[in-house]
């Protein structure tokens, strides 16, 4: 980052960087933590790495920070290969689930740490720290010690500390994981607002699909050291590319069957009309249908309809989830808003549009 920008500009004016991973590989003994991870994060983008534990998302993040040296592949920040650059010269901001504040330092000293390392002038430090604390809505907390703050406040201090040096990239490793649900929901919005205001390129690691969907500009779903799919939240949710993605994001009906050619698949004796044309007849495929796309006793014409018995009703407050046993053996889930329309044991017609049935290769 050039000197003038570093000194003069306020937080929001920092020039955002782009980040690229090219074919990253990392092995720990017999485990392949990264098996060829490639992705490009645009300047100012909020990019999420989503996946179950052990999928390589944190390893990828740590490779960007410089704490993991890849066995193969490159990490690029602003187009420059940084593989050989040690963490303290990469100019990234990192926020952990554990906050990792310095417990022996006050909030002000915590936030000032990075500026002090950059040998920023004292007056300038005072001003930037005050700005950063105001940005995370903690003005006047400077003289407190981390242990005197709540979890949410500590997390905001960690954010201020990471942002105050105007890093090229902000790396967030499950930052909301240690907060309770209510605070997490609040911080999700707060964090996103902050990221947009500051305009810093952000890579966010989480296993929580809801966080990923609500906050990201784009996200990558990872599994076993590789990327399954990259896309905008809606794209990932509505048009999952693989069975894993369909199953990991949200609740999905996954129906195993065989292609009948054209846009039809046979599942447990039922022929289902699908969105796109299925592969060659006879190929094993999986159909993914979102539970909220399944209509029960709908009056309109639907491309697919099966008769079913309500096996179980799960009342969830604002939504009701029905577990259905369709005639022929298919098991389906349907979700509706509002009251319970069908008690367990009722006979219903479950239907859905062909456009809502995604064909995935098994």
């Amino acid at each position: 980052m050039d000197r003038a920008l570093e000194q003069g500009a306020s937080l929001s004016e920092a020039r955002a960087a782009d980040v690229s991973l090219r074919g990253l590989e990392k092995r720990y003994g017999a485990t392949r933590a990264l098996a060829g991870v490639s992705l490009d994060v645009a300047p100012g983008e909020f990019f999420t790495l989503l996946g179950p534990s052990g999928c390589g998302k944190t390893t990828s993040l740590r490779a960007v920070a410089g704490f993991v040296a890849p066995d193969a592949g490159d990490v690029l920040i602003r187009g420059a290969r940084v593989n050989a650059v040690p963490p303290h010269r990469r100019h990234v901001g990192l926020v952990f689930q554990s906050y990792a504040l310095f417990p022996h330092r006050t909030v002000r000293q915590n936030v000032a740490f990075g500026l002090r390392m950059q040998r920023t002038a004292r007056v300038e430090i005072e001003r930037l720290v005050a700005d950063a604390l105001a940005l995370v809505q903690l003005p006047g907390h400077g003289e407190r010690y981390p242990r005197e703050l709540s979890g949410g406040e500590q997390q905001r201090v960690a954010l201020a500390r990471a942002l105050v040096t105007r890093p090229a990239v902000l790396l967030l490793d499950e930052p909301l994981g240690a907060l309770d649900k209510k605070l997490r929901d609040h911080m999700k919005i707060e964090l996103k607002r902050l990221q947009r205001d500051v305009g810093v390129t952000t890579i966010y690691v989480t296993h929580d699909q809801e966080e990923a969907l609500t906050m990201s500009d784009r996200l990558a779903v990872m599994r076993a050291g590789h990327i399954e799919q990259v896309g905008a939240p809606r794209e990932i949710y509505e048009t999952p590319g693989t069975v894993f993605v369909a199953g990991f994001i949200g609740n999905t009906n996954l129906l195993a069957g065989r292609s009948r050619g054209g846009a039809a698949v046979e599942c447990a004796g039922v022929t289902i009309a699908t969105a796109a044309s299925a592969p060659a007849a006879g190929a094993p495929v999986t159909i993914a249908v979102r539970p909220e796309r399944i209509r029960l006793d709908d009056t309109g014409r639907l491309d697919n309809e099966v008769a079913a018995t309500v096996a179980h009703v799960v009342y969830q407050g604002e939504t009701v989830r029905y577990l259905l046993a369709a005639d022929g053996g298919l098991e389906l889930q349907a979700v509706e808003l509002g009251r319970v329309r069908f008690p367990a044991g009722s006979r219903v017609r479950a239907g859905w549009a062909a456009a809502d049935a995604r064909v995935l290769l098994s």
């Binding site: 704490f67 040690p86 963490p87 010269r89 310095f102 740490f113 990075g114 010690y145």
Partner: protein, 281 residues
């Protein structure tokens, strides 16, 4: 009621401590200010023995030597123990239990046996010197024993576990992510250590140092065996006065001086750690 019942649990140990620790200690203080004539103690109050101690350059010299020995042993244990403790606190190796036993091993060997072991190594005709001289690398043996060096080596050996365990406990509680956070904020690994790990491990450094120092200045057997009476320390004076000269009051005064130093150190320790701990815990 329950709280009072729980206090009962403290009773056996308190009684033990009272009878066998506090009472003798108080007796010792009383003896140190009493007079003795022809082997008979007279229960008066006099500071004569303390005055004698602090006006005699010999005893002041011994006190000084004792403190210097304590300092040397403490610093050496800290320098040797810190890296070891750091490794123990961070490692996930399956050899960790073995390493821990190895660290504790000096405590598993009796003190006399341990000292004779060091003698075999350090004596003029011991393993080290014999090897060096026989190979012709040295004309005459190095002075490894019957001096402060030999005593210090043997003391560091046995007190190192106290230092390592004090440090390991504290280092383990430091979030490794704090160190990484410091690095991403622009601190080199060395700087990050100085700014984060070192200050956070200060309570462990102080606790370990205090333990080792107190133990070192009150050690008796090791200075006798490896110092060969060429290294004089305060506990030896106490022993001499009480068991050879039979001057109980002066011996008690010596012992009390040693005790006061330890207590003063503990007070300083508590003060300093309280300040160091302000942000922590």
């Amino acid at each position: 009621m329950r709280a009072r019942a729980r206090l009962l649990l403290l009773l056996p140990f308190t009684a033990l401590l009272g009878v066998f620790f506090a009472a003798p200690l108080l007796l010792m203080v009383a003896i140190s200010v009493s007079r003795q004539s022809f082997g008979e103690l007279q229960w008066t109050f006099t500071l004569h023995h303390y005055a004698r101690f602090f006006s005699d350059a010999y005893y002041i010299g011994v006190l000084w030597d004792t403190l210097v020995l304590g300092a040397i042993v403490t610093v050496a244990s800290l320098l040797l123990g810190y890296p070891l403790a750091y490794h123990l606190a961070r490692t996930r190796s399956r050899w960790k239990p073995f390493l821990l036993v190895a660290v504790l091993s000096p405590l598993l060997v009796g003190i006399v046996i341990r000292c004779y072991g060091w003698m075999i190594l350090l004596a003029d005709r011991g393993l080290i010197n014999a090897t060096l001289v026989e190979r012709g690398w040295l004309a005459k043996p190095l002075p490894l024993m019957y001096n402060r060096f030999g005593v210090a080596v043997a003391l560091v050996h046995v007190f190192l576990p106290f230092m390592v365990l004090s440090l390991t406990g504290v280092l383990k509680r430091i979030d490794p992510h704090a160190l990484e956070a410091a690095m991403t904020l622009g601190a080199s690994p060395r700087r990050a250590f100085l700014e984060v790990t070192l200050p956070l491990s200060l309570p462990g450094i102080l606790a370990g140092s205090l333990l080792v120092f107190s133990l070192a200045i009150s050690s008796f057997v090791v200075p006798v065996l490896l110092g060969g009476f060429k290294v004089q320390v305060l506990p030896m004076i106490v022993y001499e006065q009480v068991l050879s000269v039979f001057d109980w009051p002066f011996g008690a005064a010596n012992a009390f001086v040693l005790l006061v130093i330890s207590i003063a150190l503990i007070a300083v320790y508590i003060r300093v750690t309280e300040r160091a701990l302000r942000g922590i815990v």
